[in-house]
C-alpha cells in the first residue's frame, strides 16, 4: 500500500514480464524497475510469464556485443532482494526446469538462474492485489 515516508510519496509496484530475453519488453521492464527503486518505491514482486520465463534460463550465452538481459535481471533482483517468480506452468511447458522439475524427468540438472523461483499464477494475482500499481511488459 502507498505510504508517506520522509516526506516522499512511496508507491509499490507489481511487475509482470512477458517479453522474450532479446525483445524490447525485457529491457523496458528492467530499466523501469531500476528507476522505481532509485526513487525509493518498492517492488512487491516480478512475475515472469509467457516467453518472459526464458529470462530465467541460466545457460544463455550471448555473443560479444549483445546484452544478456536474463543475467542483468538476475543481478538486479538479487542485489535488491526482490521476489522473482517464474510461472511454473509457462516455464515447464518451455523446458525451463528447476532441480525439482528436472527430477521428474530423471535429470540431475537445474536450469533456473539463482534468485528466481518457480511458482504459480496465484503469486502474480496476489502481487497485483497488494501493489498500488500493476505493470506488464511484452
Amino acid at each position: 500500500m502507498a505510504s508517506q515516508e520522509a516526506g516522499f510519496f512511496m508507491a509499490s509496484f507489481s511487475i509482470c514480464i512477458k517479453a522474450a530475453p532479446q525483445a524490447s519488453g525485457a529491457a523496458h521492464g528492467l530499466e523501469f524497475a531500476k528507476a522505481c527503486i532509485a526513487q525509493g518505491h518498492s517492488i512487491v514482486r516480478v512475475f515472469f510469464y509467457g516467453d518472459g520465463v526464458y529470462l530465467g534460463l541460466k545457460t544463455q550465452a550471448l555473443p560479444q556485443g549483445e546484452i544478456c538481459w536474463g543475467k542483468l535481471w538476475q543481478n538486479f533482483l538479487v542485489d535488491h532482494k526482490i521476489d522473482a517468480v517464474v510461472c511454473i506452468a509457462a516455464a515447464v511447458r518451455r523446458g525451463i526446469v528447476d532441480a525439482a522439475e528436472a527430477r521428474r524427468q530423471n535429470l540431475d540438472i537445474d536450469l533456473l538462474r539463482e534468485g528466481f523461483v518457480l511458482s504459480g499464477l496465484g503469486q502474480w494475482i496476489a502481487a497485483n492485489s497488494t501493489a498500488d500499481h500493476t505493470m506488464s511488459f511484452g
Binding site: C16, Y49, G50, A89, R93, L121, G122, W124, I125, T134
Partner: protein
Amino acid sequence: MSPLFIFTETPNNNTQAREGVEALLACAAFDQKPTVMFIDQGILQLIPQADQIGSKNLNKMLQALEIYGVESIIVCANSLARFGVKLAELKPQGKLITLSERASIIQHAAWVACF
C-alpha cells in the same frame, strides 16, 4: 474496481491466447471477479472449434468461464464486423460494446492485462 483482461490474439497460433485464459482463470479463482474483453483477432477465440487429437480446445475452456467465476464477458462489435461474424455464432456470446465504450471500461479497471 475489478481486474480487466484484454484478449487480442487468435486461439491456436501460439501459446499466448491459452496463457491468457490460464491467467484469467487464476484471477477468478482468487475471487477477484475479473472482466474479460475480446477485441480484434481475439474475438476469433469465441468461434466454436472442432476438437483436435492431443490438443485442448481453447473455446471449450471459454465456454466454462462463467462456471469458474468470470461473469463479465465483453465483445467488441467493430471486431465482429471486421471478420463478418455474428454474435449468435459465438460461444460464449458476451455483451456487445462499441469502440466508444472501450476507453471508459479500461479507465475503470483495477489493473489491466493484455494477452
